[in-house]
Amino acid sequence: MKILIVDDEVLVRRSLSRAFQSRGHEIYEAADGEAGLQAWLKYQPELIMLDVLMPKLTGPQVLRELGNKKTGKVILMSAYGGDHNIQTSLEIGADLFIAKPFENVFDVVATAEGILAGQQKE
């Protein structure tokens, strides 16, 4: 599966990449919103791990820019709850919201794979 990870924190990208790669997925990374948007359009990933607060474009802004060109499943991630939660994430076109920090990165991977398998879970 093609998975795009958009997050400005290098350690987050790296840990998620390694976890997904170990599961045999094809990983693309982007360090800000704009790069994320380009990568999304370019690679047409099946799953996007999208951070909320990033330089240039925020996660929700990326979603808005994509509009109907959006492909794949979207998991919105945020360390600072702020205005975003599961409900608002669904409204702006995401499929799931995961709060940072993760308790266990493998649980996140399992959740993501669940969504890819079409079994949405919260």
């Binding site: 997050d7 400005d8 924190e9 290098v10 350690l11 987050v12 990208r13 790296r14 840990s15 998620l16 390694r18 976890a19 170990s22 607060l53 360390a79 600072y80 702020g82 940072k100 920090p101 993760f102 266990n104 990165v105 493998f106 996140v108």
Partner: protein, 671 residues
Amino acid sequence: MQQRILWFSKIKRKARVFESNYQIDLFTTSDHIVDALVSDYYSTLLLESQDNTSECLEILKTARQVAPQTTRILAGSELSDQFIVEAVNQGGVFAVLLEPTPEQELKKVLDAACDQYRNSLNRKKLLEEIRVQNRKLENMNINLENMVLERTNHLESANQEAENNLAHMRDLTHFVQELSHLRAIDELLHLIYRELKHFHELRPPILNYVSLDSTAKIVSIQGKQIFEKSVREPWPRKSEIRINDRQDQKYLANEFGRPLGKILALPLTQKLNKNLKNDDPLAHLYFEHNFNDAEVEVFLKSTRDWLQPISIALDRIILEKHLKTTSQQWEGTFDGIKDPIGIIDSQYNIVRANRHFNSKSFEKKCHQTFQNSEQKCVGCPLEQALTTNKPTRGIVKRDQRIFEVYSYPIRFEGENTSAAVINHYVDVTLARELQSKVVQTEKMAAIGFLAGNIAHELNNPLTGIRSLSQILLKEIAGSPQSSPQLIDDLSEVERAAERSQKIIENLLQFAKGETQSRKLVVAFNEVIRKTLPMLKTSFREHRTEIILEPSEAKVLVEPQLVQQVVFNLVNNACQAMQDQGSLRIESKIELIDKKSFCVLEVHDTGAGIPEDLYESIFEAFFTTKKEGQGTGLGLSMSRNIVRKFGGDILVTSRVGVGSKFRVILPLVEAT
């Protein structure tokens, strides 16, 4: 002058012998003797007795009558005793000469007789003189008596008049005295009527006057009752006494709606009423009466002197009533104000004070009244206000309530410096509590904002660190490069990241504050445990001992708020210890008044708190910390929070040894 002798004798010879000594008129007949005696002054009548003794006696008697002073001598040769007796008794004979009488003898007798005459004459003259003098004296006496009588009468009438005047003056004085005690118009009318009760043909007085608000009023009494009403029609305006004036009668009849008899109108002056205009009516006393002309005279005479005192009394009553109303308005105003307000002199004596100054009692000194204390209130700005002569503010406490005191210096008339102040006490307890809550809320909001930002910034890398540690741990398991040391190190990294996350989570929750929290049943220890990590920097410098109650007892609180309390107490304890001290944090369960409480004790070895400050430290904005170290809100907020959940904070301390703060919260029994 020679003495004259009337000698009645028949023998001339004998008489001749004495002619050298006396002027002798010799009568030989008795015919003209009496006439001679009457017309001339004879010293002596010498009567030589004849045979006819009765004639002789007759001459003697007549001579005695017509010329009583003339000495009568009887001479004869053969004089009977009876005749001599008769001559002596009836004729008043001076001497009887028995013939023949020697010449010498005769002469002696004649001399004696002449002396007798002279004496007699002198006596007569003297008597005459005395009589005249007496008469004069009598006249003078009579005159004097008349004068005295007249004078006495005069004096008596003057005295009577004076007494009358005195009585009148006494009556007037008494009347004026009574007037001076009057407090109301009706009393004035009653007094006037009472003083005039002896005029039977007189009805109770009617008064009209102008009050200070320029309304014309008419007042009358009937029995004990008073009738007063405002008048629109001005009454006849003449400043003279009017007797049975038709206009007065008509005016009063209109006012009372009934016919009135004859009217006496006495004008009064209202001098104190400054509002009176020139065309305003004068005050009057009216009397309905049934006097005849003479009685009117008497009445006017006895009341004439009263008009001025009555006018003055009327003025005074009106003014006093006005002043009373005005002062009552002010009093009402000040008593209506809920803040204590008083005029206090420089010696802290209350000159005046409103009701809320102290509802219980008024003492002489303001602090006695306000604080029930013999000492002046701590923080009172009075002295400073008097020294600087400027309004000054201070803070004074009473019964756990805080008052802002404003001292406004006031100057009494005729004094150069302010001798007193108006002290206005404003209860700011609630305002301060609110203010402290606002400050605390703002503080927590600021911390929340900051914590949120930091949390985000830290959570991102922490998420990466932790996740990467987890991945590495998984990858290394079973790998040939693996070693227990490596696994242990990685685990340590992962746990450190986790701990950091927890601290950030706690910080976020702590900072959320009241706004989003609600009461939860939580383990008291849990609240303490969650808070302590945030304080690690605070007690890094001190020896710290933490003893938590093993039973994990629960309390019903808003955990974030109680966290703030724990934070405050521990932070204070750390700040109280200058050098390295020892801090002991202990939680336990205690039975207080048969109820179970969760107790947190925070002991420090700091400077300690004097006992008289035990209460003050819990007051908002009280702080002993340096600027920037504290707002003075921590303990007051903490106590408010704990009390809100049915608990309390208590302090015991010894100066130089340390302090112990105890938080108690009701224990919630596990269900």
